[in-house]
């Protein structure tokens, strides 16, 4: 799959941009703050329905504009038919997704277009809280299967409803056992979707772990390989997490009534990362952590490729700032034979090397892009 045309309207620092992208890889070259990352962010938005940097759409809108528009035309290797995708957002009317002019949802984007983003901030996967790692797992899960997204959505909705009965239990305390009776259907739903989510996450981490072992075997010069294990909020034996989850929920009843929200469930999962048997977050050097974060993303790309039989689009933001020359070259060697790469950097020193690797060059200056014709 590759992006052959990107068009932006009032998005970040772009007033209006039409960017044709031909075959091959693409290099966005420009100083910091000129708008390289914004282009990658727009493509990520087309592939996932959301931004990896901003949690609110309003901040993506160019200064003073009422909304933004991001449009892309994609082509797959197998079909000659191209796919038109558009995400628009109005501050007054919300977000709309269109795929070949038909209204769609974020799950349709995740199903139709596969992107994997690399950025220096990926190191947060190692350093930050479990929430970052859960979000990473969930993104892969949704890219691999639309069912994962449904399960996740329904679980999150059930948890919100259930938490409401815990937070405002006085409202439902009419009659004997009123509050716990009102909570019961939500508990059932939380158990049903939560067990499914536990199961799917375990399977996902197993796949991730296997892929990572193969990828990172020799990368740490004797220090590796990178090992990832699932750390579910409720451990279980056998195939079905349901019985253990039921018991854990029943056991946490007093506690959740005291704090007013559901304390155990997949929303409290984590993933452990170890390098040579030692916890990466605490014992890994910054360099090792950055390299590991990159391998996690490479593993994501690998899983997506295996699942859909085509390479995802790789969006690579300023990786040369965190990888040393050798690691960067190894990275390029690994990915250049794959699908389309769109790479952004401020380091002109890479220009020659990337030209040799047949990257098309686009100069980014103050919200405008000048493509070098070759």
């Amino acid at each position: 799959m590759r992006l052959i045309h990107l068009s932006l309207g009032d998005f970040r620092n772009y007033g209006s941009l039409e960017l044709p992208l031909g075959q091959g890889h693409h290099l966005l070259l420009g100083q910091n703050g000129e708008g390289k990352t914004n282009v990658l962010e727009a493509v990520h938005l087309l592939g996932t329905g959301g931004s990896q940097r901003a949690s609110r759409d309003a901040v993506l809108v160019a200064h003073d504009a009422p909304g933004y528009r991001v449009g892309g035309r994609f082509e797959s290797d197998r079909e000659s038919r191209s796919l038109r995708v558009e995400v628009t957002y109005q501050k007054s009317g919300g977000k709309k997704i269109r795929i070949d002019k038909e209204p769609g949802r974020a799950s349709d984007l995740l199903g139709a277009i596969k992107v994997v983003s690399f950025a220096p901030s990926d190191v947060e996967l190692v350093q930050e809280s479990a929430q970052v790692r859960r979000r990473f797992l969930d993104l892969i899960g949704c890219q691999l299967s639309p069912k994962y997204m449904t399960v996740l959505r329904e679980y999150q909705r059930a948890i919100r409803q259930r938490n409401e009965t815990l937070a405002k239990s006085f409202v439902y305390s009419r009659g004997k056992n009123g509050a716990s009776l009102a909570r019961e259907p939500w508990t059932d739903l939380v158990i049903e979707h939560g067990s499914e989510l536990f199961r799917r996450r375990r399977h996902l981490v197993d796949q991730l772990s296997e892929t990572l072992r193969d990828l990172s075997e020799d990368a740490y010069k004797g220090g590796g390989p990178l090992d990832v294990t699932y750390d579910p909020a409720v451990p279980w034996d056998g195939d079905d997490p349901r019985p253990a989850f039921e018991v854990a929920l029943a056991d946490s009843r007093d506690r959740e009534e005291a704090v007013g929200y559901t304390t155990c469930g997949p929303h409290a999962d984590d993933v452990n990362l170890k390098l040579g048997g030692r916890e990466l977050r605490r014992f890994g050097s910054l360099g090792q952590q950055q390299l590991s974060a990159m391998f996690l993303k490479l593993a994501q790309a690998d899983l997506v490729r295996t699942a859909v039989g085509a390479s995802p689009i790789l969006l690579v933001d300023e990786m040369f700032a965190v990888l040393d020359r050798q690691a960067a070259e190894e990275f390029l060697a690994r990915v250049e034979g794959e699908g389309q790469i769109i790479l952004a950097t401020a380091q002109e020193g890479w220009l020659g090397e990337l030209r040799d690797r047949h990257f098309h060059v686009h100069h980014v200056r103050a919200g405008a892009i000048e493509s070098v014709t070759t």
Binding site: E102, G104, S107, D108, P146, K147, M149, E154, P185
Partner: protein
Amino acid sequence: MELGSEALGRLIDEFSRLPGIGRKTARRLAFHVLKADLPIVEGFARALVDVKRLVTFCESCHNITQVSPCSLCEDPRRQDVLVCVVEEPSDVLAIEGTGEYRGRYHVLHGVLSPLDGVGPDDLKIKELLARLHESRPTEVILALNPDTEGDATSFYLQKLLAPLGCVVSRIARGIPVGGDLEFADSVTLGRAIQGRERLGE
């Protein structure tokens, strides 16, 4: 702006209270009323008052009706052994439109949703139980919307109804007739595959 008439101002205020009607539209409607013939306006006013005065809810199924019990509950040709539970009166209309169902109805007037402050006591659930205890149907069909809240309400009812010993079923979810599989969203298609039916039965 001076309207020159206090009555006209009042009418504009009333119109603009309606959902989806802004100040400008309210003014246009009011001037339209002003221009219309008196019998038409009187008919309109009567219709407004009548709908409030005459339409009530059926004491048995809680659907909207002018006489309680409603015609659907009184119809001797309908089967008492089947009861279909729906969220809103409009859902009764939708199911009646299919011509496929000849049982009784029960309207809950909503679904469980703590986030919207709706608990079991806010729905016609007690009434449903009391009714089923008396009529003892063989099957209760839960025809609620296929979303999280509809599912939770179905779960809740399923447990409550278990002691009655009747069959509790839920409407199937899947691909619309005349639809194209290629264009079905993946979630619906996935559910349709899960709930597939065997041919020749």
